[in-house]
């Protein structure tokens, strides 16, 4: 600093090092109210998705024409639809649908993104150049259009929706991973591992990937929200899961025709989508703040 130097507290540095791990991340998370709210919503969503079919008050798919289009009442708190199905039960069943598809879609996305991003970042040179231009082409398509095109080719269905989401999501993942890998690559421990002759594969898997993961975790959380939105969008367009399976977007597409006579049909599934996506966005933001404290605006 200046001509006046002070003696550094060396112990302090050591402590800093040790704490800058999971514990610090958790402690920072705890202070973030939005993050906790997000986490709670996401956990509730997980639980409902897993045990939902055992707690539904009515069978979500079985029609009961006698009680069709009933407004919310004590027996059916969210009302009933055209076929007399309980909307609350359908919303709960819809959680399972969107959860299953989105979790597989994000997993597939992360996998492809990690592979391409790590190779591009680690190998560099023309391999990197070619892979990046390849990604540019995918990124030239507006997201939902790419999904529509893929569902148009492969036909509707859960697996095809998973693929459609992965296809438009992986480029941004690959880019983030690549940037992260490049910044980790220049660390001394990577150089050291190279120097003692470890193979590229083991360097990538043992040293680079684990250290490059934090932006990927954040992105994966945020992508869950995007995936859920996309699933419902495809459902709304009629390109979602097959009837009679409950899915929030599909429910809303049906509700479109009954806006005047049965507005409750278009309220509850929409609220469910907003809440869950909001939960993932809050959680993702909080994770981002906790993992990259420097980026946080004070």
């Amino acid at each position: 600093m200046g001509s006046v130097t002070t003696i550094m507290d060396e112990n302090k540095n050591e402590k800093l090092e040790r704490y800058s791990t999971l514990r610090v991340v958790l402690r920072r998370m705890k202070r973030n109210k939005g993050g906790i709210a997000g986490l709670i919503v996401v956990l509730i969503y997980f639980v409902i998705a897993v045990i939902g079919l055992w707690i539904v008050p009515y069978h979500p798919d079985e029609p009961d024409f006698e009680s069709a289009l009933m407004p919310p009442n004590p027996k059916h708190p969210f009302g009933t639809d055209l076929f007399g199905r309980d909307v609350l039960s359908r919303v709960i069943a819809g959680a399972r649908t969107s959860f299953t598809i989105s979790i597989f879609a994000v997993a597939l996305t992360v996998f492809i993104g990690l592979v391409i991003g790590t190779i591009a970042g680690y190998v560099g040179g023309w391999v990197d150049e070619v892979l990046m231009r390849f990604l540019d082409i995918f990124m030239a398509f507006p997201e939902i259009l790419l999904a529509i095109a893929i569902v148009a080719i492969l036909g509707p269905g859960k697996i095809n929706i998973v693929i459609a989401i992965a296809v438009f999501s992986f480029p941004s993942f690959a880019r983030i991973t690549r940037a992260s890998v490049i910044s980790v690559k220049s660390n001394d421990y990577v150089e050291a591992a190279k120097a003692i002759g470890e193979s590229d594969m083991s360097i990538m898997l043992r040293y680079i990937l684990p250290n490059a993961l934090s932006p990927v975790v954040v992105q994966a959380t945020l992508r869950m929200g995007t995936a859920i939105l996309t699933i419902s969008s495809l459902g709304f367009l009629g390109l979602g899961v097959k009837a009679p399976e409950a899915e929030w977007g599909t429910e809303l597409a049906m509700a479109r025709s009954y806006l005047e006579s049965a507005p409750w049909l278009s309220i509850f599934p929409g609220i469910a989508i907003v809440l869950v996506v909001l939960g993932f966005n809050f959680l993702g933001d909080a994770l981002n703040d906790a993992l990259n404290p420097r980026l946080k605006d004070r």
């Binding site: 600093m1 200046g2 001509s3 006046v4 130097t5 002070t6 003696i7 507290d9």
Partner: protein
């Protein structure tokens, strides 16, 4: 007859509220600057130099306590309204900052930025403001000012930008320029040029300059008087000769010893042991006592020392100073 000082800071106290507690940034700061004088304000990072000058210009928005007086030509700046302060800032008192790279706005040209200030304070039309801008660029010895007014800051070197900053500082004929570490970010040769320009401006325009620095070399080069700050107190002031030759405060002595000698090789730089004190729970009594080599238990840690006067120009705050031989009397101010 009491001569009116240009700027007098009396018992200035500034606290901040933070999550960790109250930061006692300034406890008791006393300073004065005469007309046409260059005062050096020195001290370690975190001693309160910058807070002091930002308080003078009332640029601190988050202070929880500000008390004392900041008399500018006899007028207490702390009592002025925000609107009245707008006429002081940039007109009567101007500032030069440490980072010439970031202190100028990157999306406006040098000329636009100078003219904004000139038009605001000098009531000139656009054409006259531009002429004035070119004139002040000339004053700070920038080559080809007609060309430079149309440049963006990133197109200029660090030294040139700092000259633009100085040009802005003198553009409305201020009475006091506050220069916060004006040369720290610059190369040594550029440093000397900038200091030369400041000294020249003082002589040519008769402006007073308050220069904040942690570099005692800068002080020796251009200052008339020095004030040494430690943890929210001005602990010693005097003329350059008094401070460099007869410093009485142990901290000032430590600072002077820490200047690396140029001629001889040294094994290890002299440092003052210990850390700059925490401002939330500062040491009791004299805040320097935990690091002081002349510490007297029961005295130094009991109560903060009051301001004492050695000569007409030399004051200090210490219970156990290095007094010159023969001087025993202490006069409380």
């Amino acid at each position: 007859m009491i001569k009116l000082k240009l700027l007098e800071i009396r018992n200035l106290k500034v606290y901040f509220n933070t999550e960790e507690g109250i930061v006692k940034a300034l406890e008791d700061v006393n300073l004065e600057i005469d007309k046409g004088e260059i005062l050096g304000l020195v001290g370690e990072t975190g001693c309160g130099k910058s807070v002091t000058v930002l308080t003078v210009l009332r640029l601190l928005s988050n202070a929880s306590t500000i008390s004392g007086q900041v008399l500018f030509e006899g007028q207490d700046l702390l009592k002025l309204s925000e609107k009245e302060m707008l006429k002081i800032r940039g007109k009567e008192i101007t500032m030069i900052f440490q980072e010439p790279m970031t202190s100028l706005n990157p999306v406006f040209t040098v000329g636009q930025q100078l003219m904004d200030v000139i038009q605001l304070h000098m009531n000139l039309d656009k054409k006259r403001a531009l002429e004035r801008a070119i004139e002040v660029l000339k004053l700070v010895k920038l080559p080809d000012p007609d060309y430079i007014v149309n440049k963006y800051p990133h197109e200029l070197s660090g030294g040139m930008r700092q000259r633009v900053m100085i040009a802005m500082a003198i553009s409305c004929e201020p009475k006091l320029i506050i220069a916060d570490e004006p040369t720290t970010a610059l190369d040594v040769t550029i440093q000397a040029q900038i200091l030369g320009i400041l000294k020249h401006l003082k002589e040519q325009l008769g402006v007073s300059i308050l220069i904040i620095t942690h570099n005692l070399g800068v002080v020796a080069q251009i200052c008339d008087r020095v004030a040494v700050m430690y943890s929210g107190y001005v602990i010693e002031t005097g003329t350059v000769a008094e401070i460099f030759q007869h410093a009485v405060h142990p901290y000032t002595r430590g600072l002077l010893k820490a200047i690396p000698p140029i001629e001889e090789k040294v094994e290890r730089l002299n440092v003052i042991p210990g850390n700059v004190p925490n401002l939330i729970t500062p040491p009791s009594g004299c805040r320097f006592h935990p690091r002081c080599e002349r510490y007297k238990d029961g005295v130094c840690n009991a109560q903060a020392p009051s301001l004492r006067q050695l000569t007409e120009t030399h004051t200090y705050m210490c219970y156990n100073p290095y007094l010159p031989e023969g001087v025993v009397e202490e006069v409380n101010v």
